[in-house]
């Protein structure tokens, strides 16, 4: 083979090999990779059951013509409720402090100021008064918590008759 032919052959083979390498090089073009993390989250809650054991007995609490006053920690006329949930779980309690009682077969109203005490055992005398807004406490080891519902109402100008109303309490796990 002459030098000219050798040089041409060498050039051709070099070009062939170079074209193959260029193909491989073109496949590798990615730069550095920043990243970011996104959190996916949810909060699972289980139900809390609320059972009315006894309603407030306003007529039993009346001792005069001016006012009815039921202290939840001592008065036998206090209503009783029980909450059932997860044993030992922490919970937040809120209740509507002031609600209207409406006379049955009429439209006259009385304003009732609720007062509530609570205890992990069914013992009214050792129960403690609860703040009406975002009180925190826990269920007992069997998943129970007891409430005594009392309060006061001014009846000095009340028209005689039956009065009814609601008591609203909200309990949620923390």
């Amino acid at each position: 083979m002459t030098k000219g032919k050798t040089a041409l052959y060498f050039f051709l083979m070099t070009g062939f090999l170079w074209s193959v390498s260029q193909d491989l090089f073109a496949q590798n073009g990615k730069s550095t990779k920043p990243d970011i993390n996104i959190s996916v989250n949810t909060r699972i809650v289980s139900t809390i059951d609320l059972i009315t054991i006894k309603n407030i007995e306003l007529d039993k609490a009346r001792s005069g013509d001016q006012q009815i006053n039921i202290a939840p920690t001592v008065h036998a006329a206090a209503g009783i409720m029980k909450a059932e949930g997860r044993p030992g779980a922490e919970m937040r309690i809120s209740y509507v402090q002031e609600q209207e009682l409406t006379r049955t077969n009429g439209s006259e109203t009385l304003t009732f100021q609720y007062s509530v005490s609570g205890n992990t055992e069914q013992n009214q005398s050792t129960s403690e008064l609860l703040d009406f807004n975002n009180e925190t406490t826990r269920f007992n080891e069997t998943g129970e918590y007891f409430f005594w519902i009392g309060g006061r109402v001014d009846i000095s100008n009340a028209i005689p008759g039956q009065y009814t109303g609601d008591f609203t309490i909200e309990i949620e796990y923390i």
Partner: protein, 194 residues
């Protein structure tokens, strides 16, 4: 070797070269020091759910979806990879993986909008498989006409025109009779300039 053979080889070299050259694609991203930034508007939050309540979904149109802004040189392509955990775990504890009382299956969906604005009606869906997805697109889609000349790479005193694309992450969880508490999982988004 005769000259005839050499010319034959030259012929093969010239025309054979085209068989080794791929469809023309120039990765401009490797010719400049480009950067991409993220701005996370919010995480993906399913809120409070009652145990045992079954399927809970967050759609693309829901405000609870995660929205992430990706910003950079508007004319360059990015390759975006998304990978999500297959389940949410109680308190994020990895030892609860697969525990039917302490894990919640999660199915991810995702979309992106690259017309310059955070508008879900502009969104294109990712093809998600096994909670993973990948897509390649311009940060800001060219609206019409052929591609312009190659963009000037960033250098001292010059920053290429910037733009933003928006990534939307949403999906569903299936809540069995699991323990009450906080459940979390993780999604990773990786972006590469091409």
């Amino acid at each position: 070797m005769s000259y005839r053979s050499a010319y034959l080889l030259l012929f093969l070299f010239v025309f054979g070269f085209s068989t080794f050259t791929p469809a023309q694609e120039i990765n401009f991203g490797q010719f400049g020091n480009y950067s991409v930034t993220f701005n996370k508007f919010n995480n993906l939050s399913f809120g409070s759910i009652l145990t045992g309540s079954g399927l809970k979904q967050i759609q693309l149109s829901d405000p609870e979806k995660a929205t992430i802004q990706v910003s950079g040189a508007k004319n360059l392509d990015i390759i975006l990879d998304i990978t999500a955990d297959p389940e949410l775990l109680l308190n994020g504890n990895s030892s609860f993986s697969g525990d039917p009382q302490k894990s919640i299956p999660f199915t991810m969906e995702a979309a992106y909008a690259n017309k310059g604005d955070n508008i879900i009606s502009d969104a294109e869906l990712f093809n998600v498989s096994s909670n993973s997805a990948s897509a390649r697109f311009q940060i800001v889609e060219r609206t019409s006409g052929p591609p312009g000349p190659p963009p000037t790479p960033p250098h001292e005193g010059f920053t290429p025109p910037q733009g933003s694309a928006y990534i939307y992450i949403y999906g569903s969880i299936n809540v069995g009779s699991v323990d009450a508490g906080s459940y979390t999982g993780n999604i990773t988004i990786t972006v590469t300039y091409n």
